[in-house]
């Protein structure tokens, strides 16, 4: 089977696969180039932005000029920006983002590694809620178009979409954590859980802490998924092949989920691709309010303190996720829709 070069006329499958591979390589090269440009731009813009990255280290206490010079030398801030950039790119290519200014002497890689898990956990939970509940409700609305249920779901989802996430987070905490005390206000786990607590306890504790941040993030994103899914489904339900399926005597569930839904997936796939960065970085504000120990709160802290190394690492991770999200979405399109296939 020829994967590279001109495909043989008789080898259609090989030809298609070769086309996809060529397309993928081209797409990944484009992404890598974009990533490099983003890295340089981010580095230069951060250094040009005003703000003293060493302010936090001294907590506004008087510091001798020599002490300041020593700190600048430790973090390479005494070097010209060109030298800093060269050193950064060279180290970053080896996966080394240096030492955090705020968390000195911790290395950035270690910090990011510690924060990635919690962010992925929160992001994947939100994604799961979206894919299941959002899609199902969107399809339900399309099937019951114009009904009282459809109208109410539209109103509720739009209200959720319009609600500012910081307000929603504070309201949820105020009610569920402080007033009724049925859910924790912040953190990922109970910090005082006994070390000998069983896995059931730990799982229950983790789930309880996951509820409010997930609800906050999901309310906004769920509304978008429902709206996209509903309108895509309505488009598809009008098409001839759906009527034909009904005419063949297939039951509604089969028509909806096996025939119509598959064709109504594309807008939602695009949306999910756009959400990949959120999945990686979390929502900065939501992680801060709930003190969720993920990349979002790490990035928020780094912005506030001008912790350049951490800021670069988290920004590049999000940039990478955006680019990867685009590639994966395109790949999914190609897999699901033959008309979009390369070659």
């Amino acid at each position: 089977m020829a994967l590279v070069g001109r495909p043989l006329p008789t080898d259609r499958a090989g030809s298609a696969l070769g086309g996809v591979l060529r397309w993928l390589i081209r797409r990944l090269l484009q992404a890598a180039a974009t990533f490099a440009v983003v890295a340089v731009l981010l580095f230069v813009l951060m250094r040009l932005a005003p703000g003293d990255p060493l302010a936090r280290l001294t907590d506004d206490r008087p510091v001798a000029p020599a002490e300041r010079a020593r700190l600048e030398a430790i973090f390479g801030l005494d070097q010209p920006i060109g030298t800093q950039l060269t050193k950064f790119l060279s180290a970053a290519a080896r996966g080394d983002f240096g030492v955090s200014i705020e968390y000195y002497p911790l290395r950035v890689g270690e910090l990011v590694q510690n924060r990635l898990g919690p962010s992925l956990l929160l992001g994947l939970t939100v994604l799961l809620v979206n894919v299941t509940l959002g899609v199902w409700l969107g399809v339900l609305q399309a099937r019951r178009r114009g009904s009282r249920l459809d109208r109410w779901l539209t109103r509720i989802s739009l209200a959720g979409y319009a609600a500012p996430s910081f307000w929603l987070a504070l309201m949820l905490v105020s009610l569920f954590a402080i007033k009724w005390r049925i859910l924790p206000a912040a953190q990922m786990t109970d910090p005082l859980l006994p070390t000998d607590a069983g896995w059931l306890t730990r799982a229950g504790d983790l789930l309880a802490h996951l509820v409010l941040p997930t609800v906050t993030l999901s309310v906004v994103t769920l509304a978008a998924t429902m709206r996209y899914q509903r309108s895509a489904m309505l488009e598809v339900l009008r098409l001839d092949f759906v009527r034909a399926a009904y005419a063949r005597g297939l039951d509604e569930r089969t028509v909806i989920w096996r025939h119509a839904w598959r064709n109504a997936l594309f807008p939602v796939l695009t949306l999910l691709g756009l959400w990949l960065p959120v999945l990686v970085s979390g929502a900065v504000f939501v992680e801060s309010v709930f003190n969720w120990p993920g990349l979002g709160s790490l990035a928020a802290g780094a912005i506030a303190t001008r912790d350049y190394p951490v800021l670069m690492a988290t920004s590049l991770l999000v940039s990478g996720a955006v680019l990867l999200g685009g590639v994966l979405t395109d790949l999914a399109y190609q897999a699901l829709d033959p008309r979009t296939r390369a070659g």
């Binding site: 005003p50 703000g51 003293d52 990255p53 302010a55 936090r56 001294t58 907590d59 506004d60 206490r61 008087p62 510091v63 001798a64 000029p65 020599a66 002490e67 020593r70 705020e102 968390y103 000195y104 002497p105 911790l106 910090l111 924060r115 504070l170 905490v173 569920f176 954590a177 402080i178 049925i182 859910l183 924790p184 206000a185 912040a186 953190q187 990922m188 109970d190 910090p191 005082l192 000998d196 607590a197 069983g198 059931l200 306890t201 799982a203 229950g204 789930l207 309880a208 509820v211 801060s288 309010v289 709930f290 003190n291 120990p293 709160s297 790490l298 802290g301 506030a304 303190t305 001008r306």
Partner: protein, 549 residues
């Protein structure tokens, strides 16, 4: 540990079933846990390397100084200090102070604390290549030597009041036997820095980066067994989350500068109490006496002492401070916090007198020539920029009222609400007309030299290029004087500073602690909030599950 009944039945079952074991554990009357919210990661939690508050908070539980300031915080009175690692001290002459170490003092690895530890630590702190800031603070120590098995002798370069403060506050002993093989520039990245061995009431437990730090009581701590067996610091940056964690019961204590509107949710929680204490913090409007961003040129408006005086007279400090802080701050007349011992001896500054302010400005030639309500002179408007960090709720709350008050005397104020790091950078470069500063100062008034003397003008922390030769002269005299007699000299020095009108000294906020009511013997100190934590205990009748050992 607290059982949370979840909204979902499943969660409730899971949690309740698995929490049943720990709850049934045998009760221990000599145990207790406290979880404390702190705003940053304690990355270097030992003395002598970092001035960041999170590090100093944790270090105060792990390490002891030779002696502690007494409750009146009179830094130059040797008699009021309390023993710590040293059980006694004596003066042999005006340049020599001898400390006798407590023979019971031990490092957490079991080794005794020796004069070698003290000498090594002082010499390390005096090395300007390691910490220029500490080296500067210890510049008056000539030598430290062992003069006996348990005796350490400090020799000073000159006679001055704060010798004992310098010897005890800035050179807290570290374990020489663990550190002398680590190159100074590697210490921060060493294994020791990640798991410090101290000699205080608590030993290092476990750090989860970005989440929490656990310390465990040292049962045979030589000054007495800590009543709380476990201290957990929760690392929480967002202000909303800090307060929420105390309100929902996850955390037991939270140190904050409280404003009246933040008090309501706290007082609504019957389980929480608010303890207040004077602080070493002070907030003030600093006048830049050099041009905006140009330290070679006098400020076109603020170089004039009469204008600075008029600005002070034009601000109703009492009303301003009460409106923003309520009872949680007091008005100050000098660069000293409420807890600074010389504050009681500070001359009272002038009160609010807008008419006098207008007269002063008129006498200097400032007129409203175009009737726009803003004074001008020789084509220059009496217009100034007030810079402040947007992260400080108190300063944000005061900025607009200050603008309005100064408008009443014909001064236009442009408000520059800046991002924290931007504000700090501009401040350091002298890029401001009026800076809304807030600083936590050292307990000793000798520290004033760093921000208010001619020697530091335009460099370091004297960002306003303040220079009053009268203050410098009086300062030297006050610093030389020891004991309580120094109070009069300090009054003279502060009086000289006030006469130069370098700033409008506004407020000293109270140090406030929100703490669960189940704790007994709660006391906090302005020079180290948690220093006395080992003396706290839990009321046996209010013990909860997480207080069990």
């Amino acid at each position: 540990m607290r059982v949370r009944s979840s909204m979902a039945g499943l969660l409730a079952v899971l949690v309740a079933a698995s929490f049943a074991g720990p709850l049934a554990a045998q009760r221990d009357t000599q145990s207790g846990t406290i979880s404390i919210v702190i705003g940053a990661e304690p990355t270097l939690p030992f003395p002598g390397l970092s001035l960041a508050k999170a590090n100093m908070d944790v270090a105060s539980l792990l390490f002891l100084p030779l002696a502690r300031l007494g409750r009146q915080f009179i830094t130059s009175d040797e008699k009021t200090y309390e023993p710590a690692l040293a059980r006694s001290w004596r003066r042999t002459d005006s340049l020599t102070l001898v400390f006798e170490l407590d023979p019971r003092a031990r490092w957490h690895d079991g080794k005794p604390v020796t004069p070698r530890d003290v000498i090594w630590s002082v010499n390390r702190s005096r090395d300007s290549t390691i910490s220029p800031t500490y080296a500067l603070l210890l510049r008056n120590i000539a030598s430290v030597t062992a003069t006996g098995e348990r005796e350490v002798t400090f020799r000073f370069r000159q006679a001055y009041g704060d010798q004992i403060f310098d010897a005890t506050a800035f050179a807290v002993p570290l374990p020489a036997h663990l550190l002398d093989t680590i190159p100074p520039d590697r210490l921060a990245a060493s294994i020791y820095a990640r798991q410090p061995v101290g000699n205080g009431p608590y030993r290092w437990g476990k750090l989860e980066a970005g989440r929490q730090l656990e310390l465990n009581a040292v049962p045979d701590f030589f000054l007495g067994t800590p009543k709380l067996h476990r201290v957990v610091f929760l690392i929480v940056r967002a202000a909303e989350a800090q307060l929420n964690l105390v309100l929902d019961g996850t955390a037991d204590a939270y140190e904050a500068s409280l404003l009246p509107r933040q008090i309501t949710p706290i007082v609504e929680q019957p389980s929480l109490d608010i303890k207040t204490q004077s602080s070493f913090s002070v907030g003030y409007l600093l006048f830049n006496q050099k041009a905006f961003g140009d330290r070679s040129t006098p400020h076109p408006i603020l170089a004039d002492r009469a204008v600075r005086q008029a600005l002070l007279l034009g601000i109703d400090r009492q009303r301003l401070v009460r409106a923003v802080f309520g009872p949680y701050a007091s008005v100050v007349d000098g660069p000293m916090g409420q807890a600074t011992w010389i504050r009681r001896h500070t001359p009272k500054g002038p009160g609010y007198d807008p008419a006098a302010a207008r007269r002063l400005l008129a006498a200097q030639g400032w007129r409203d020539s175009n009737g726009d309500g803003v004074l001008d002179k020789n084509g220059t408007k009496l217009s100034l920029r007030l810079s402040y960090p947007g992260t400080s709720t108190a300063r944000v709350g005061m900025a607009e009222p200050i603008q309005a008050m100064l408008r009443q005397i014909g001064v236009e104020v442009e408000l520059l609400r800046l991002d924290g790091p931007v504000w700090a950078e501009r401040r350091a470069k002298g890029e401001f007309d009026i800076d809304f500063s807030q600083a936590t100062l050292m307990p000793t008034p000798a520290g004033l030299v760093q921000s208010w003397s001619c020697a530091s003008s335009g460099g370091g922390s004297n960002v306003g290029s303040i220079c009053s030769p009268g203050f410098d002269e009086a300062y030297k005299e006050a610093a030389r004087t020891g004991g309580r007699a120094a109070a009069d000299r300090w009054r003279d020095a502060i009086g000289e500073l006030q006469q130069d009108y370098p700033a409008v000294f506004l407020y000293s906020p109270a140090q406030a602690l929100v703490v669960h009511r189940r704790y007994r013997n709660v006391s906090i100190r302005p020079d180290g909030t948690w220093t006395d934590l080992w003396r706290w205990s839990v009321d046996p009748s209010q013990r909860i599950a997480r207080d069990q050992r």
